[in-house]
């Protein structure tokens, strides 16, 4: 384990300048060479010379306000600030002279004349840049005394649950304001007033919680004093060591330093060297880690014969033996295919690999699937077909070279916030933005950001819009002929060209279907094709449709059509949702593919695994999750091992799922909480959070990053150990003593992973696959010289309207999405203070639709679809267009999935969550399902309460 003693990461003062011509200068008599554009301050730091400073920090542009970092430069008058002075060839700099010392002491005197002198009891004692700088400049007295006007009585703002703003300690360096602007892009903070009256203000002089602040913590990290400090630091003191690990929330996969006292995490700070996030984070990863030690954690195995009985806490041995025996009994009675597993997109690569190995080599079938089924399985199908690999093509950092960003069916500022901040930074630099979304997401109109085009597509018409864009590009001769001729399958392109040229794909012909004004669509197409480097970022608003796979292929077609593949600043970027959903797919969690996306029919690939595992493998595809549920209701599928997934909450048509789960003879749930699915379980195997295990996650950039154990697993085992025990009990031998051995096996068997090992990960920090002999350091950008499949393939993408349409009975279309503070089913975030922001799911409804129904803000609304109904509170909003309503699904009792149907993508069965025909009306009580569910929840909680689970000590 990489144990790092607690030390702040080195701060070089101003940002690094990559790629500039080398410039040599002299600093304190030593020659220093740095790229052009580097500040004198940073050049000194890189040479090991620390120039005292306060307002400068290397995550932010230089500001030059504190006047502490002054230097002397030959030939330059006065004492310039080294942070705002770029290096010049031959410059001669002195950083320490008597005159400079005097000036710096004078400046510090002024600061300290208006600062509390309670260092010894201050929460940042020993970790305060003001304290350090006072020491560095040799401050010995404050000649002004302390009786003058000051800000020592300024009130504290404790509104945010995670950090405190103590205005009495503020030195108005503006780092927080600049961090909120430059790093996060929210612009929630400002300096109000002038001169002595200047002070940091959130919003319009509001409390942080009432302002636009999104609690990303960038200001807290940037603050050089105790003004902005984490509450956990105030309560517990300074951490004593830190461990670099990877966030377990979304597919950005931010690198964090878990900062600890012993095995208690005091805070998570974003790791500057993390390539995905480069020192930034969001409210979830930064602050919402407390769920790992929440009192709801289940830490001892439990079993029960039926779901109406109380749980019985048992030993690991008994639980594993019981599970193994039940699964074998079921197979003996009902056939080899009567059991299966769902692997987790939040568990590590190594853990997922073992689950699919258990299924294939232990259960003897291929009934293994993962949550990617319900989110990005169309990405797998669509990108494999067109480009040859089921993954995004770029790094996140690539957006810094983008000239036109096309964001479709993705809401990055809510769902991939750290990437959203990168995108906003690039947009503020002048890149253009096209948003294709039924809803006016934040990116359409935010501080200093405005979409050049917002195509408010009707839910269900994505393929029509994409075809229309391609039609315009082709008929106006804007496609990149040379790229296509060289890189793509030309005969297929000719076939596709004939298809897309047809007038039925013109924006005018498709206007009724798309709901997008043709002129707007034409202009957007021209911008995408001719605006320079153009990159497409897309999410579940593309995939979770009956033509999700078709839409992904249409997106890949657009990128190939315009030559926007194979270099920085362009590409096709699926915004993978979960922390390890990419990894889960890579590791062979699909019923038709082995690890590395090799179809079961590939005899050579199958042979490799058969030889390694010592067992013949079933060559036929297994069941997808929806097939498992259909077969369960039919009585053919009877046993399920469900690791780290909450299908009862996250999958569509809840009543169908609940019926399927209730029909199982043996449902085994491995999780950290008693989730909705576990309420139907017969065996509960307590899981481990990301803080309690070693392994790797793979993010949306194909970046494999280390997960490092910082505390002992509360249940006594890491998740992979539980799967190993179950495998051994079922006669499928596994004898790993550390996850690195599992990764070594994966690397042996998977060409795209040949070069991956824990040693290499320690060396490089993270690795983007493919990593092998051809790419020993990994692959940031894919398809550089040729596509993985050789020539790019233009798939035909005929628009087929979904069967789910607004009609007289259900005249509105419901679409769904996510919010920043809660994460997916909310199992983690609802058990943290994040519920302060989003305590319930709300239905957004346009003012026209609301008025027609007599709905006012906050009214209870019954939402009815052809499969079910639920009740949510109303928010009147123009973010949605008339005819469209929107909600999130973070709270189980919202029942958002009681309404969603079993319509799904034709190729992958990814559910069509984004299009459900509904009617909405005012009601006065919860729905029948909600009332039943509350009773069911209460009953299951009672059955758990008798199980004698140990009480969790909350630090």
């Amino acid at each position: 384990m990489m144990l790092q003693f607690y030390e702040p990461e080195q701060d070089y003062g101003t940002p690094a300048m990559a790629g500039g011509e080398p410039v040599s200068l002299s600093i304190d008599g030593e020659s220093v060479t740095v790229p052009a554009g580097t500040s004198v301050l940073r050049a000194a730091a890189e040479a090991g010379v620390k120039v005292p400073r306060l307002c400068a920090t290397d995550s932010l542009e230089p500001f030059g306000s504190c006047r502490v970092c002054l230097v002397e430069i030959d030939g330059v008058k006065g004492y310039p600030a080294s942070c705002t002075t770029p290096v010049k060839p031959g410059m001669v700099v002195r950083t320490q002279t008597d005159r400079l010392a005097g000036l710096r002491r004078n400046v510090m005197e002024l600061y300290i004349s208006d600062h509390p002198l309670d260092c010894l009891t201050c929460p940042t004692n020993g970790d305060c840049e003001l304290q350090d700088t006072a020491g560095e400049v040799g401050l010995r007295e404050v000649r002004y005394g302390f009786a003058g006007a000051n800000h020592l009585d300024a009130a504290k703002d404790t509104s945010n649950p995670y950090f405190t703003f103590d205005a009495s300690k503020c030195i108005v360096c503006s780092r927080c304001v600049r961090a909120c602007e430059e790093t996060q892009g929210t612009f929630a903070l400002t300096i109000q007033g002038r001169g002595f009256g200047s002070s940091v203000s959130a919003g319009q002089g509001e409390a942080f919680m009432d302002s636009e602040c999104v609690s990303c913590g960038a200001c807290v990290k940037a603050c050089p004093t105790a003004t902005l400090t984490e509450n956990t630091i105030i309560e517990q003191g300074k951490p004593e060591h830190s461990v670099v690990t990877t966030c377990a929330y979304c597919g950005v996969g931010c690198a964090f330093r878990a900062e600890l006292k012993g095995s208690t995490v005091v805070r998570m700070t974003p790791h500057k060297d993390g390539k995905a996030n480069e020192g930034h984070a969001c409210v979830k990863g930064r602050f919402a880690f407390g769920y790992a030690s929440h009192k709801d954690r289940i830490t001892r195995p439990m079993i029960r014969a039926t779901i109406d009985e109380p749980w019985r806490t048992v030993s690991w041995e008994e639980a594993i033996a019981y599970t193994a025996a039940r699964f074998r009994e079921i197979q003996q009675q009902h056939g080899r295919n009567s059991i299966g597993a769902i692997s987790s997109s939040r568990c590590t690569n190594e853990e997922v690999y073992l689950v699919q190995k258990l299924v294939r080599a232990g259960f003897g079938n291929n009934n293994i699937d993962t949550c990617a089924r319900v989110c990005h399985s169309p990405t797998g199908y669509g990108l494999k077909t067109t480009l040859g690999e089921s993954a995004g093509t770029q790094t996140f950092a690539s957006v810094a070279h983008t000239d036109v960003a096309l964001v479709m069916g993705s809401n990055p500022t809510e769902a991939h916030p750290v990437f959203g901040s990168r995108l906003k930074r690039r947009l503020r630099q002048g890149a253009k933005l096209i948003v294709i979304d039924p809803r006016g997401i934040e990116l359409v109109d935010a501080p200093h950001i405005r979409a050049d085009y917002h195509l408010a597509v009707n839910p269900g018409a994505n393929v029509a819009v994409l075809n229309a864009l391609a039609h315009v590009i082709v008929t106006e001769g804007l496609h990149d002929q040379a790229f296509i001729a060289e890189r793509c399958d030309n005969s297929q392109f000719a076939h596709w060209l004939e298809f897309i040229r047809d007038p039925r794909h013109a924006p005018e012909a498709l206007e009724q279907a798309t709901g997008v004004p043709p002129q707007l669509l034409r202009e957007a197409a021209r911008l995408y094709a001719t605006g320079g480097n153009a990159a497409i970022y897309y999410g579940l608003g593309v995939t979770e449709h009956s033509q999700g796979s078709t839409a992904v292929m249409a997106i890949a077609n657009l990128a190939m059509l315009t030559g926007n593949v194979g270099r920085e600043g362009v590409g096709v970027n699926p915004m993978r949702g979960q922390n390890n959903v990419q990894g889960s797919c890579d590791m062979g969690s699909f019923p038709h593919e082995l690890p590395g996306y090799r179809h079961l029919s590939d005899a050579a690939a199958r042979g490799l695994f058969e030889r390694e595992w010592g067992v013949a493998l079933d060559p036929d595809p297994g069941m997808r999750i929806p097939n498992m549920f259909d077969a369960a209701i039919d009585g053919e599928f009877r046993g399920l091992y469900c690791q780290g997934e909450d299908v009862a909450q996250s999958d569509p048509n809840t009543q169908h799922i609940q019926a399927a789960l209730a029909a199982l003879d043996c449902l085994v749930v491995q999780d950290i909480f008693l989730n909705e699915t576990a309420k139907f379980a017969h065996v509960f195997l307590p899981g481990s959070s990301f803080l309690e295990k070693n392994g790797t996650f793979t993010n949306a950039e194909r970046r494999i990053s280390p997960v490092r154990r910082v505390m002992p697993p509360l249940a006594g085992k890491e998740d992979w150990e539980v799967t190993q025990d179950l495998a051994n009990a079922m006669g499928c031998a596994m004898h790993y003593s550390h996850p690195s051995q599992i990764m070594d096996e994966i690397a042996r068997l998977t060409p795209t992973f040949h070069g991956v090992s824990y040693a290499r990960l320690d060396e490089l920090g993270s690795i983007q696959w493919p990593c092998n002999e051809q790419a020993p350091d990994g692959t940031p950008t894919m398809h550089v010289d040729e596509f993985v499949r050789g020539k790019g393939f233009f798939a035909l993408t005929e628009y087929v309207a979904t069967e789910e349409r607004a009609n007289r009975r259900f005249p509105l279309l419901l679409t769904t999405g996510r919010i920043l503070s809660q994460y997916n089913v909310g199992a983690q975030t609802r058990r943290t203070a994040n519920s302060a922001w989003h305590p319930e799911d709300i239905l957004e409804i346009h003012p026209f639709d609301a008025e027609e129904r007599g709905v006012a803000e906050g009214d209870w609304l019954g939402i009815q679809s052809r499969v079910g109904n639920t009740v949510l509170r109303a928010r009147i909003s123009e973010r949605v267009k008339p005819g469209v309503v929107y909600t999130t699904f973070h709270h189980p009792l919202s029942g958002a999935n009681v309404i969603t149907t079993d319509n799904s993508d034709w190729a992958t069965n990814c559910p069509e969550y984004k299009v459900t025909a509904v009617q909405v009306s005012r009601v006065t009580e919860p729905s029948a399902w909600q009332a039943r569910q509350q009773q069911f929840d209460r009953r299951q909680q009672q059955l758990l309460d008798t199980a004698s689970q140990p009480v969790i000590e909350v630090p």
Partner: protein, 77 residues
Amino acid sequence: MARGQIDQLLKMAGHIALNLGAGHDAAAADRTAEHISRFWTPAMTRQLIAYWRGGGEVPSVVAAALASLENSQPEKR
């Protein structure tokens, strides 16, 4: 087999055929058969073939695909 499950298989097969070019392309039946072979369990395919052979109504492209699958699939499990 439950009516509900057959309906589901029919719907899926029909959508596959539609999206892979039914009505536009003579090779649509082959592509539909290939897709089903790659992604469906043999049991699901057998169930749909049994339904069709038992006189159940299926779209013509799907029927052509099922005929081709019937010939290529060896007896399993």
